[in-house]
Symmetry: C2
Subunit: 201 residues, 2 copies
């Protein structure tokens, strides 16, 4: 019933995550009403997305296709003896934005989730284990998400790393109250952790 | 800090309405992780969006670029003596989906809103007024949105049409309780209208 070109745009944009038919309609109609420049900028950006980005072969961070290795690893100012392990490449930028971490990163590529078919061999765990020896890593900071999958991945990593390197320091990000969340809204587990790991003033 | 191609995609997608930096990041990363086919389908659809869609010169509905006039007007089965007036082209499809309207449409192209610079001369009001005479219109159904702008546009249309065609029947969509909304949640104006326009069982 709608013009074919508009319907195609709605269908294509409806494939974005969390975008239902009404939102896709809104996006497509907005683009149609706006200057063609806006659509062109999306077209140009998406054309180069796959060819312009690749994974770092050491850390599995996302890098420019023209780069060999992630600059966050290659840079001599980064301390290779500390490795912070995250699930997804974009998690790196959340940590980098704090400007307090000077070590290097390792991206697992997800968390163990047998239901979704993500078994440990699908993650970059073997590469992490060999990196520990190769780079003389002294500390591995596990920064998987505080979800069930993230927690079981953290436990698995801890087990595998301890088995192979009994001397290695293995840590994980602290649990506690986030900024701006009212005490009465905090969940039990977070609050127990905040109490248990209380810091001296 | 992010790979340039990924950052470009985030920036481009962030121009969609209601899409903030986090959502744009999610869209771009999802497209990067998915098969390049998904990005290609968006690229292809957006390339043809502006060239493939145009406005009907009579009703201002959106039509295929290959069509002359909206098929919802051109079709001899549609009753040209009844014109339903909507603000935006996509409103037509909401009405069409009810499958109960057999008249024709007229798209204003928005609602009067002096703050946003939308004065009556920016809308397709003159075209509507001349259509009444040309098509021998007997009834104009005003289906602007139940917003302040929609209401003032409806009043303006009523005034202009009554002045020129004192015999013309002018109606507007009924006000009342929508399906599934609890009485206690209905606003005062809607409830007053529902009471005033009550129908006999």
């Amino acid at each position: 019933m709608l013009p074919e070109a508009l319907q195609s745009a709605i269908d294509a944009l409806g494939a974005l995550p969390g975008v239902g038919p009404r939102t896709a309609e809104r996006y497509a109609y907005y683009l149609f009403r706006s200057s063609p420049k806006l659509s062109s900028s999306i077209v140009d950006a998406l054309k180069n997305l796959h060819s312009g980005v690749k994974s770092c072969p050491v850390t599995f961070a996302l890098i420019d296709a023209s780069e060999e290795i992630s600059p966050l690893y290659d840079n001599p100012a980064r301390d290779k003896s500390t490795v912070l392990v995250v699930e997804e490449p974009l998690d790196i930028y959340a940590i980098e934005n704090t400007r307090t971490f000077k070590g290097t990163y390792h991206v697992l590529g997800g968390a163990v989730s047998p239901i979704d078919g993500i078994t440990p061999d699908k993650l970059h765990i073997a590469e992490l284990i060999s990196r520990v020896e190769k780079d003389g890593v002294l500390e591995v900071i596990i920064a998987t998400n505080p979800s069930i999958e993230g927690e079981s991945t953290a436990l698995l990593l801890q087990k595998l790393l301890e088995e192979k390197y009994p001397e290695l320091k293995i840590t994980r990000l602290a649990r506690g109250l986030p900024l701006g969340v009212d005490l009465s809204y905090a969940d039990q587990i977070t609050l127990s952790a905040a109490l248990e790991n209380r810091t001296k003033l």
